[in-house]
């Protein structure tokens, strides 16, 4: 039997606020443990939460960008459980009245464009971080706990089971991450935990509309891991079903090194969180006018930008997709395009040589001014330098931040051209390589390229290969 995977994702995103969800402590990453704490986020008795309006605004913007229906009234709830990283023994979250319901994100899957629908988006707070002196909290002799993270604003995005493969899940996450970066609600750094993803997956016979027994997959710390874990879990379930077995509802851990998912806890015994309305916070009321104000502040979204890049600059769909997925690069392109009209030439230089050289020289794009690249391209366009020199020059520009014009002057990189200058060099090369002339006269094109190369070497790359080629032809005839 052929099976189809049905996958839903739960994505936790740390919101880019300066202070925590319910107190004034800093949200800075990597500070000394337990320095960004106060009686409120340490859960001291009698302290009370005060909602961070900025966190609400960011979550609303994300919800609007995802076409969600922002609820006029949403309610905070307590999710009760004991764990040493949870200072109050409950997490303030939203339960049956989330911030936003519905919504979708349109994705270019290999089989075509499709909407992935969302169930809800809600607000909650982070827990602290535990480090065990042992394999797990139950086996460790002792554990350390850092509450710097406790209380950082979190937004949870829950999708409907609209995905059907690990690859689809990865593509969705990549697009979602990009969207959130564009809206500016999170820095979405999976390695710092500011974006995390759990998944639910079940299998069903292809074509069936019923849902199979699902498992929950956790411990995936990159988009790649999500893809691999879901492919692996789908295979595990398929093996069980094909052998006539039944999938047991469970939480599975992705063990990256072993490249497999391992069931760790049977879901039947899952905790009862004893949700109830958080009495310390009034309902969150969001008037339509406020929501509209926030909508007006939404920046251009990735899909809109791609369309515009194609229309305004004549980029191909794939080119627009490529450059828009690195917003700073796309910004650089658009900035430069204000003063440079050959957009496609510009695009190829940016996406090709610039990206390559940034990586090679370890330079950050922020330190590069678009004007310098334009200056370089103009030198090239006017024929004052040739292409190989231009590339060499780009490296120097990135390393020194100096103007290409000045570099050309000081390093004597200007193009060597004109019969008087080049003819002696051409003559020299022809004298030294009689076999190549012979070969060329017999019709071998490669021989000419060889001779051009020799002349270019004598000019240290500063001649125009076309001009040299023409001169050589003239001479041989």
């Amino acid at each position: 039997m052929v099976y189809e995977a049905v996958i839903g994702l739960e994505i936790h995103v740390e919101l880019l606020t300066r202070s925590k969800m319910f107190c004034g402590c800093s949200t800075a990453f990597g500070d000394k443990p337990n320095t960004n704490t106060c009686p409120v986020c340490l859960g001291f008795p009698g302290t009370l939460p005060v909602l961070n309006r900025q966190a609400v605004a960011l979550a609303v913007k994300a919800a609007l960008a995802l076409q969600g229906k922002v609820q006029e009234k949403s309610i905070f709830a307590r999710k009760n459980y004991f764990y040493p990283d949870l200072p109050k023994a409950y997490q303030i979250s939203q339960h049956d009245r989330p911030l936003s319901r519905g919504g979708f994100l349109e994705i270019n899957f290999p089989e075509g464009r499709r909407r992935v629908h969302l169930e809800r988006i809600h607000l909650e707070e982070e827990a602290g971080k535990l480090i065990h002196a042992g394999d797990s909290i139950l086996e460790a002799d002792y554990s350390f706990v850092d509450y710097n993270r406790a209380g950082i604003p979190l937004m949870e995005i829950v999708t409907l089971p609209d995905l059907h493969s690990g690859e689809e899940a990865r593509l969705f996450l990549e697009e979602l991450r990009l969207l959130l970066l564009y809206v500016g609600v999170s820095d979405c750094k999976m390695e710092e935990g500011s974006l995390r993803c759990d998944a639910n997956i079940s299998l069903r016979p292809a074509g069936s509309s019923e849902l199979g027994v699902k498992t929950e997959v956790k411990n995936m710390n990159s988009f790649r891991a999500v893809e691999q874990a879901l492919e692996s879990e789908a295979r595990r379930q398929e093996e069980i079903l094909s052998a006539g077995g039944r999938v047991i509802p469970a939480t599975c851990h992705w063990e990256g090194e072993e490249r497999r998912t391992v069931p760790v806890r049977e879901k039947g015994a899952s905790a009862d969180y004893r949700y109830f309305t958080e009495p310390d916070l009034p309902p969150l009321m969001l008037e339509a006018s406020l929501v509209e104000q926030l909508r007006a502040t939404l920046p251009e979204l990735p899909a809109q930008r791609r369309e515009r890049l194609q229309e305004e600059y004549g980029l191909e769909a794939s080119e627009a997709l490529m450059i828009s997925s690195t917003p700073p690069l796309a910004n650089f392109f658009e900035e430069a395009a204000k003063h440079y009209r050959d957009y496609r030439h510009l695009f190829h230089w940016i996406q090709g040589d610039l990206v390559y050289q940034l990586r090679e020289t370890g330079t950050s794009l922020e330190t590069v001014s678009p004007e310098l690249l334009i200056e370089l391209l103009e030198l090239l366009d006017k024929g004052e330098i040739n292409r190989p020199v231009a590339k060499e020059l780009l490296t120097a520009v990135l390393k020194k931040g100096a103007s290409p014009k000045k570099l050309v002057a000081s390093k004597n990189l200007g193009r060597i051209s004109g019969r008087e200058t080049l003819e002696p060099l051409v003559a020299q090369v022809l004298d030294e390589n009689p076999e190549a002339i012979e070969s060329f006269l017999q019709g071998r094109k490669k021989a000419l390229a060889f001779l051009v190369g020799k002349v270019m070497a004598l000019t240290r790359g500063r001649a125009d290969p076309q001009e040299v080629s023409q001169l050589l032809r003239d001479k041989i005839k």
Partner: protein, 493 residues
């Protein structure tokens, strides 16, 4: 007359005219505590040093000609579930036996700002979960009118401190009667403000959706003064109300005539001590004689109030006490793994009454029981609140008893939570509705003080205080201080 026998208003006058100093006042009360407290055990912690420091600062400011709050230099006793920075705050629990908060409750910050010295922290039922002050993890507080009896609770320590002249004023907290019932049992005026009128920040919760901090005092004037000092919006408490605080004291002498008073059918009559019924009747009569318009009113959903209250309070309580896990502060007991550490720390932290409520609340919130107990309790609360708001279409205030009986014997109701709950009959409906109520001492039953309760629409504490003030002028018996004959007999701990 000794300073400790005076009311806050009386002390305030002498302080303002500089006939006495704040340090003298505080010393007088500290002396009184030393003498009387061994017999009644109202205080868990006496913060003499801090109180004297505050008093000395007030005296310096006054000498420097600064304009001070009328209560500057008048000391206060504070219930020990209200956090005082640098002063041990125990909630009468082993869990917090050595807990010194690194933060200040907003009401305490207000007292400091206005120059009211804090004399110490008073006894209560553990985590305020009781109505007799018998479940304190440390000791029982005794009623000064009869030391065989409870002072009421959970603010029993605060009530006894004021009643015996160990403090002119006290702060209590009222979730379902914890200010009003001990006020009635000890012969004091006790105000439960409108929910949200006084900041809860720094008050360790019994049930966040019901808790209110409020004043206990010898009379309406003092009550109005302290309420004026602690009321107001607080950025740190999202449930606090932004409305401006009126000058309560300025409205005390307004006439009561023309006020429309509803006698709550369910809050007096059958099942109540005849002398309490009589006190209510006599209070109503004197009001009527002075132009108050009186009629009867029924609050039909009162019969659900107790069970709704118990469900909601237990549920919130079980959640709010989860934080006492031994990880960050308070009693901590190591265990071979984290779960053992949790259970042993919590096992040693709480007494049986608290454990019982936690168990009940945990059960009520469990997925299987939530719809059976928690949701209907919430619906009942809505209906009860509607009863009150409908009643206030017709009436400016409502009247009934505070309690069904005067103070009961120590141990009489221990281990009988149902009996204990019956004592709360008149105290929880108004708390669920979030409306303000006051307990006014009026009459006696078998030589013990009893109270009459008035309830007003939200934010109309002024009406309650006005009526309390009026009844003081028409009180039948002279003194409302207990005679502390035990002081002559000796035998204090």
């Amino acid at each position: 007359m000794e300073l400790f026998e005076m009311t806050a208003a009386g002390l305030s006058r002498l302080l303002q005219t500089e006939e006495i100093s704040a340090v003298e006042v505080v010393e007088s009360f500290l002396g009184r505590i030393e003498k009387v407290d061994p017999y009644v055990k109202a205080f868990i912690t006496v913060s003499a040093e801090q109180a004297l420091q505050t008093a000395a600062a007030v005296d310096r400011q006054r000498a420097g000609g600064e304009k001070l709050h009328p209560l500057a230099g008048v000391p206060v006793a504070v219930k020990d579930n209200i956090c005082t920075k640098g002063v041990r705050t125990t909630c009468a629990s082993r869990a917090l036996e050595n807990f010194i908060p690194p933060y200040e409750a907003t009401v305490i910050a207000a007292l400091h700002r206005l120059g009211l010295p804090v004399l110490g922290k008073t006894n209560l039922d553990e985590f305020a979960a009781g109505a007799s002050t018998e479940t304190s993890a440390f000791f029982i507080t005794r009623n000064p009118w009869d030391r065989e009896r409870v002072p009421g609770g959970s603010s029993g320590g605060s009530a006894v401190a004021v009643s015996t002249g160990m403090a002119p004023l006290a702060l209590g907290s009222d979730t379902g009667g914890s200010i009003r019932q001990p006020a009635a049992f000890c012969g004091l005026t006790g105000l439960r403000p409108t929910y949200g009128r006084v900041s809860r920040y720094g008050m360790v919760p019994l049930a966040s959706s019901l808790d209110q901090v409020g004043p206990l005092a010898m009379d309406a004037t003092d009550c109005a003064l302290l309420q004026g000092a602690i009321a107001g919006y607080d950025l740190l408490d999202s449930t606090s109300l932004p409305d401006e605080v009126p000058d309560y004291g300025a409205q005390l002498e307004k006439p009561v005539s023309g006020l429309r008073l509803g006698i709550i059918a369910e809050q007096q009559g059958e099942g109540f001590d005849p002398e309490i019924n009589s006190a209510v009747t006599r209070a109503v009569r004197v009001l009527k004689e002075n132009g108050v318009i009186v009629d009867e009113i029924s609050l039909p959903h009162q019969r659900y109030a107790l069970s709704a209250y118990r469900s909601l309070v237990s549920a919130e309580f079980s959640s709010s006490l989860g934080r006492f896990d031994g990880v960050r502060y308070g009693l901590s007991q190591p265990g071979e793994n984290i779960n053992r550490m949790f259970s042993q720390s919590r096992g040693l932290s709480f007494g049986p009454a608290v454990k019982g409520r936690i168990l009940l609340g945990t059960y009520i919130l469990s997925a299987a029981q939530y719809e059976k107990y928690y949701l209907p309790a919430g619906r009942a609360r809505t209906l009860i609140a509607r009863d009150y708001s409908e009643a206030f279409q017709r009436f400016d205030l409502l009247v009934g008893a505070v309690t069904a009986t005067p103070a009961f014997k120590i141990g009489a109701k221990r281990g009988d939570p149902h009996q204990m709950a019956l004592a709360d009959l008149c105290l929880v409906g108004n708390a669920l509705a979030g409306v303000p109520s006051i307990s006014v001492p009026f009459g006696a039953a078998g030589g013990l003080p009893v109270g009459v309760q008035f309830t007003a629409p939200p934010l109309r504490e002024d009406i309650l205080l006005r009526v309390a003030y009026f009844l003081e002028q028409h009180r039948e018996s002279g003194t409302i201080r207990p005679r502390l004959s035990f002081l002559e007999e000796g035998g204090g701990e």
